[in-house]
Amino acid sequence: MRDPGDGVVYTETIVWAAPPAYAADAPYQLAIIDLDAGGRLTARVIESKVHIGDRVRFFEYRNGVAYFRKS
C-alpha cells in the first residue's frame, strides 16, 4: 500500500466503546488526518495522544488501516 506521508490532525476522538472486532484495542485514538499530499484519511494514532492541529507522521499499515504517530 502507498505511504500516505505526513499530515495534520483535522479532528480526533478516543474511542472507549468499541465494536467486538476492536474491543481489545480500546481505548484507542482515531483521527481524520489532513494529508500534506492532499486529501483526508481516517486513521489510528498510536503512542502519545494528539490534538487538532498537531503534526503527525505515517507509521505503518495494519490490516489495511493506516497508523500515525505524533511527529
Binding site: 476522538t13 474511542v15 472507549w16 481516517t42 493506516a66
Partner: protein, 382 residues
C-alpha cells in the same frame, strides 16, 4: 396526512419486529378512519432487520400481516437512520404525483435483541466499512470527531452538549411513549461513562425497539376522512458522500442545509416561520449542528442557543419536545416516521404536557449516517 400511529419506543423482549409494525399501522389506519383495503401502496423504512433479527423481505411480510390488500406494491426502503424519512418522501411523491389515492408509510426497528457491542457494529455499517469503519470508527466516534471540530472552530463547550441532553430528557419524561422517561442533571451527563471523547453515555441516543406509521392521501381528498388533517407544505430528500473524511467541513451537513433550503422554498416559508421542530439528535452535537444548518440560529451559535433555553418547549423555537432520539428512543428505521408523527401531534394540539404554545407550522429533520442522507419535511395546518 390523515392518520398517525406509533408504538411505545423501548426494549420489548417479548415483541417481534412484525407485531411492532402491525400495531403502529393499525393505530395509523384507525386514526385515519381508513380500512386497510383502501391503501394502494406501502413504503416501509427499516435499516437493518436482516442484521438485527435475521428477517428479510420485510415490506410484504409486515404489510400483508397488517391487512393490506395482496397485489399492492409493498417496498422496503433502507437509508440508514433516515430510512423511514425516505419512505415518507417516496410515499409523498407517489401521492402528490397522482399515482395513488392512499399510501401508507411505516418505519420499524427491533434492536434490543442484540448485545450493545453487536448493535454498535451493525450501526457502523451505515458508514464506510472499507475506510472509517475498518479503522475502528463507531457512530459515536464519528459524531465525537464532529463535536471536537465544532468545539475547535466555534468554541462550543462540553456544557453546551450537556444542555441538549438535559433538555431532551426533561421533555421525554413527559412523553408516555418515550423509552427513557427520566430527568437527568448536568452533573450526571458530565460524569457519564465516556463512549468516544468528548461524548459520554448521555450524549448518545438510545438503542430501542419501536414502530411508527402514517397515512397519506391527496390534499383535496383529505376532508373526506377527517377534519384534522395535516398538510405537507414542503419536503426534500438529499444525499452526500458517506465517509465523514470526504466532507469538506464536518461542522455542517451539506445534505441538511440543502434539504432545508429546498423544503423552505417549496413551502414558501423560512426558519422564522417554524413553530415546532423535531431534529435528528442521534447525538447531542447532531441537534446543535442541525439547528444551525436549518438556520434556526447562526453557524457556530447552536451550543449557546440550546444552553440559553431557546430550544426548550416554551423557548424561541421548541426543538425535540418529544424528548428526541435521546430520550424518546431511536429504533433506527422507525425514527423518521416517528418524528413526523410527533410533529403532527403538536400541530393537532394533542401533545399533552409537551404541547408547545404556537403550533400551526412544524418541521421534522431525519438524518442518515454522518450526513449522507437527509429528509426535511415541513408540515402545516390551515
Amino acid at each position: 396526512m390523515i392518520g398517525i400511529g406509533k408504538t411505545a419506543f423501548g426494549a420489548f423482549p417479548d415483541r417481534d419486529i412484525r407485531s411492532l409494525a402491525v400495531e403502529a399501522i393499525g393505530n395509523a389506519l384507525a386514526d385515519a378512519n381508513v380500512p386497510p383495503e383502501l391503501i394502494e401502496a406501502f413504503y416501509l423504512g427499516n435499516f437493518a432487520g436482516p442484521s438485527f433479527v435475521g428477517q428479510n423481505h420485510l415490506a410484504p411480510y409486515i404489510g400483508i400481516a397488517a391487512g393490506l390488500r395482496p397485489g399492492i406494491p409493498c417496498t422496503r426502503i433502507e437509508n440508514a437512520c433516515a430510512s423511514s424519512g425516505s419512505a415518507f418522501f417516496h410515499a409523498w411523491q407517489s401521492v402528490a404525483a397522482g399515482i395513488y389515492d392512499a399510501a401508507l408509510v411505516g418505519g420499524v426497528e427491533k434492536m434490543t435483541s442484540q448485545p450493545t457491542p453487536k448493535v454498535t457494529e451493525i450501526l457502523a455499517g451505515a458508514g464506510d466499512m472499507s475506510g472509517e469503519g475498518a479503522a475502528g470508527a463507531t457512530f459515536p466516534a464519528l459524531f465525537a470527531m464532529i463535536a471536537r471540530r465544532h468545539m475547535y472552530q466555534y468554541g462550543t463547550t462540553r456544557e453546551h452538549l450537556a444542555a441538549v441532553a438535559v433538555k431532551n430528557h426533561a421533555n421525554g419524561a413527559k412523553n408516555p411513549l418515550a423509552h427513557m422517561r427520566k430527568v437527568v442533571t448536568f452533573e450526571q451527563v458530565l460524569a457519564g461513562k465516556s463512549i468516544a471523547e468528548p461524548l459520554t453515555l448521555y450524549d448518545c441516543s438510545l438503542v430501542s425497539d419501536g414502530a411508527a406509521a402514517l397515512v397519506l392521501v391527496p390534499l383535496d381528498r383529505a376532508p373526506e376522512f377527517t377534519g384534522r388533517f395535516v398538510q405537507v407544505l414542503g419536503i426534500a430528500q438529499t444525499s452526500d458522500s458517506v465517509p465523514l473524511d470526504q466532507k469538506e467541513d464536518i461542522t455542517t451537513f451539506r445534505a441538511v442545509r440543502t434539504a432545508g433550503e429546498k423544503a423552505y422554498a417549496m413551502a414558501g416559508l423560512g426558519p422564522r416561520d417554524i413553530e415546532v421542530a423535531e431534529l435528528h439528535d442521534c447525538f447531542t452535537i447532531a441537534e446543535i449542528v442541525a439547528s444551525e444548518d436549518l438556520d434556526f440560529v447562526a453557524k457556530g451559535d447552536g451550543g449557546p442557543f440550546a444552553a440559553a433555553g431557546c430550544t426548550a418547549i416554551h423557548g424561541k423555537i421548541p426543538i425535540n419536545a418529544s424528548g428526541g432520539l435521546k430520550s424518546k428512543g431511536h429504533p433506527v428505521g422507525a425514527t423518521g416516521a416517528g418524528q413526523i408523527c410527533d410533529v403532527v401531534m403538536q400541530l393537532r394540539g394533542d401533545a399533552g404536557e409537551r404541547q408547545v404554545t404556537r403550533h400551526r407550522t412544524g418541521l421534522a429533520q431525519n438524518l442518515g449516517g454522518s450526513g449522507a442522507t437527509c429528509v426535511v419535511t415541513i408540515l402545516g395546518v390551515r
